[in-house]
Chain length 160, copies 2
Amino acid sequence: MGIEIERKFLVKGDGWRSLGSGTIYRQGYITTENKINTVRVRLIGEQGYLTIKGKTTGATRAEFEYPIPKEDALFMLENLCDHPLIEKTRYKIKQGELIWEVDEFMGDNQGLIIAEVELEQENQAVELPNWIGQEVTGNLQYHNSNLVKYPFKKWKDEHR
Amino acid sequence: MGIEIERKFLVKGDGWRSLGSGTIYRQGYITTENKINTVRVRLIGEQGYLTIKGKTTGATRAEFEYPIPKEDALFMLENLCDHPLIEKTRYKIKQGELIWEVDEFMGDNQGLIIAEVELEQENQAVELPNWIGQEVTGNLQYHNSNLVKYPFKKWKDEHR
């Protein structure tokens, strides 16, 4: 079993772009109706993953991830997941001891860029790079599973 | 990817009991709100399994099953699955070329005994043993995922 402790931020400016290279992620959710647990199918290049996540408490969430065949992931993305799928480019950027994952969304979520950092403990000190903006940890609106039904392009101006 | 083609029947009498030995299955569902796909966690002895099933069409259903560590299964059964869990003894009974799986339910589903047979094709001829009763293939009420919320003991007499 895994525990995911993660803080999430909006990104400002382009200062992060030169710091890492990007990989395309394609993912979908087998269940979004039940808002507590999510079941995610993800394809990164030739490798599929199936991920179960439990309830979020603070910045902590139980997470179980299993590699699955690409063909299984493709079938599930096409036939079992809610559409539209989430497509994004993920940049991994090392800053000091931490790895930041910057997700630049495409499609209906174009314009949204989110940075995540995985921690060992909830109260761990984090030095924020200057391209990090507002913290959105725990804000369900920014959960990728919610970006399927309520993509960024539908958000009202006051939420931006 | 797998395709599950399965016919399901009620069981009558005890003629099947001497024909195979039983193993205890403990399972739960991470999602039952979305009635099309199910995500099942199962523990058989020391081995956990995670299973994704798609929409049922006739007797056919897309199915993906992955072995997972026992500890993962235990955590998910306890913390992520809807309760009560499904507990049953499964008997595997060979009759001719076919393997029948007879599930004898416990707990809130005690009294319910279902036999399933997996087929290569939907129209495959099946010789029914004399302990096989009414066919319930495609009847959602008998899906294990629905037995969590609507267990057998709550069914009205007219459904029995």
